[in-house]
């Protein structure tokens, strides 16, 4: 038998999905995942999603970009000195424009790269695509319990059934 990816329940509205996620969390189910046709406000907090890797990466990328731009301009001006209008070689106001551009570039590139890596993109397939009834083009909202070390399949099934979903679907890896 194929390995289990998740046990998934289908709901007809985002409100029911939020309610179900709240109840499962309160029962101690911590490895939850949701699949919805549009972003549902508050769902990330209910699923315990606290990852701010993208924000952190953008902060680091922006800082590195700005510093690199400054050092690059200072290095070029010291290596090839051009005296213009009596201004100092390290002309900080003039450097700021390039620093700003590189700050934005560094922040955006590192943010996008981190987002891709965190989402494991590009990815051409996902186990839920093969699951019965899985269709986000219809108004369907799915909540999945992912198995962990001491996973009890029956207990998970009962917990999902208690939420009275439209269907309970087994998703194979």
């Amino acid at each position: 038998m194929a390995e289990l990816y998740a046990l998934m329940a289908e709901f007809e509205s985002p409100g029911r999905l939020l309610d179900a996620a709240r109840r499962l969390r309160s029962q101690g189910w911590n490895r939850l995942e949701a699949f919805t046709p549009f972003p549902v406000e508050g769902l990330d907090r209910l699923l315990g999603y606290t990852d701010n890797a993208v924000a952190r990466a953008m902060m680091i990328g922006g800082t590195v970009g700005a510093l690199a731009a400054f050092l690059m301009q200072a290095g070029i001006n010291l290596a090839y000195p051009l005296w213009i209008g009596g201004r100092p070689l390290i002309a900080v106001p003039a450097f700021m424009l390039i620093c700003f551009e590189m700050l934005v570039l560094g922040a955006v590139l590192s943010g996008i790269a981190t987002m891709f890596i965190a989402n494991r993109l590009p990815r051409l397939n996902h186990p839920v695509f093969a699951a019965d009834r899985f269709d986000l083009s219809a108004e369907r909202f799915f909540l999945a319990i992912l198995p962990d070390a001491g996973f009890d399949r029956d207990a998970a099934g009962k917990a999902l059934a208690a939420l009275t979903p439209r269907a309970i679907i087994e998703v194979q890896l």
């Binding site: 902060m59 106001p93 424009l97």
Partner: protein, 343 residues
């Protein structure tokens, strides 16, 4: 309306009147310097109703959590237009002492028409009439969307005219098309921080306070951009008038430059952190820093070259207007609440 002055309000207003009287008494020693100091403080004070109207008009067109949290406070802020106008009466009466164009013979017919105490007073009156009239319609919820659109178009245009009149014309040679925008963003930052401080200090904790912190960050970013670029445009090609204007702010005033740059930059960097943006106590502290920075900045625009009396007059008048603003904002807010409460 049944809104009465409390004992604390009366004391605040009495001290404010004393400080204002002391600032005006300095005209006995040096009318030009004392009135220029007063002008700097009055321009900052006039930024409160102007900034409040700008925020109120944007709230009307861009509704959201920030509008729900700040609308009544902003409406109260726009009611400061009347006291702000009164603080400009000494300026209008004393143009001969303050402005160099009063003692210079005009070069062109346009200068005769444009630069004179009457034309100056007329533009000042029109500006406060715009602030009062537009805010009144928005407060009364009468055709408020159309008025908000018109006000947002008129604010930078007419604001540029009075900014040129009030502060830029202190220097006969200097001309900058971004001067009005500089004044507008200064006023907006000052007004927003004053209203935010007032809102956090007196009311319940605002709903989704992180949005309010993010807006402060946005305003500070716009401020940094406009202030830096204006300097850069003068610095890069080495425009002589610009260099002279900034050069006059060397000497003791470069300390003021450091002060307002840091008082803007430190809050800006701290607000990059979401935890600080969503913390009411931190927003209160940062608002105090920003307000201090903006007052120094207004002084930096108005006072250089005018001597110690101008600085003392500015400090006294700023203290007077701050006290006046705190009492008047409280009063205006109680009035707005009484007006909007269900009958």
């Amino acid at each position: 309306m049944g809104i009465r002055l409390s004992r604390a309000d009366l004391w605040t207003l009495a001290i404010a009147a004393l400080c204002a009287a002391a600032a005006l008494a300095l005209t006995w020693f040096d009318p030009g310097a004392a009135l220029t100091g007063w002008l700097g403080a009055a321009t900052a004070f006039a930024g409160l109703p102007a900034g409040s109207l700008c925020l109120l008009a944007m709230m009307k067109l861009i509704p959201g959590a920030w509008g729900e949290a700040l609308r009544l406070t902003c409406e109260a802020g726009t009611m400061l237009a009347l006291p702000a106008f009164i603080t400009f009466l000494p300026v209008m009466a004393g143009t001969a002492f303050i402005y160099p164009w009063m003692s210079h013979r005009p070069d062109t017919a346009f200068q005769i028409f444009w630069l004179g105490p009457f034309a100056f007073a007329l533009r000042t009156v029109l500006w406060f009439a715009l602030l009062w009239g537009a805010a009144r319609s928005i407060r009364a919820r009468r055709r408020s969307r159309a008025i908000a659109v018109a006000a947002l178009i008129a604010l930078p245009v007419l604001g540029s005219l009075v900014a040129v009149d009030w502060l830029m014309s202190l220097d006969l040679k200097f001309a900058s098309s971004a001067f009005g925008l500089q004044m507008l963003i200064l006023s907006l930052c000052l007004a927003y921080c004053a209203l935010l401080m007032f809102r956090i200090a007196i009311g319940s904790r605002p709903y989704r306070i992180g949005v309010l912190g993010a807006l402060l960050l946005t305003l500070l970013l716009i401020w940094a951009y406009i202030q830096f670029l204006t300097f850069f445009i003068s610095w890069s090609p080495g425009l002589p008038e610009g260099a002279e204007w900034y050069g006059r702010r060397a000497g003791g005033w470069d300390l003021a430059e450091w002060a307002f740059a840091l008082l803007g930059a430190i809050p800006l960097i701290m607000l990059l952190f979401a935890a600080i943006r969503a913390d009411a106590v931190w927003l209160l502290r940062l608002s105090v820093l920003v307000i201090a920075g903006k007052l120094i900045e207004f002084a930096w625009f108005a006072l250089p070259g005018r001597g110690v009396i101008a600085v003392v007059s500015f400090l006294l008048a700023s203290l007077a207007f701050s006290l006046l603003a705190s009492a008047a904002l409280g009063l205006a807010l109680r009035r707005r609440i009484a007006r909007r409460a269900p009958k």
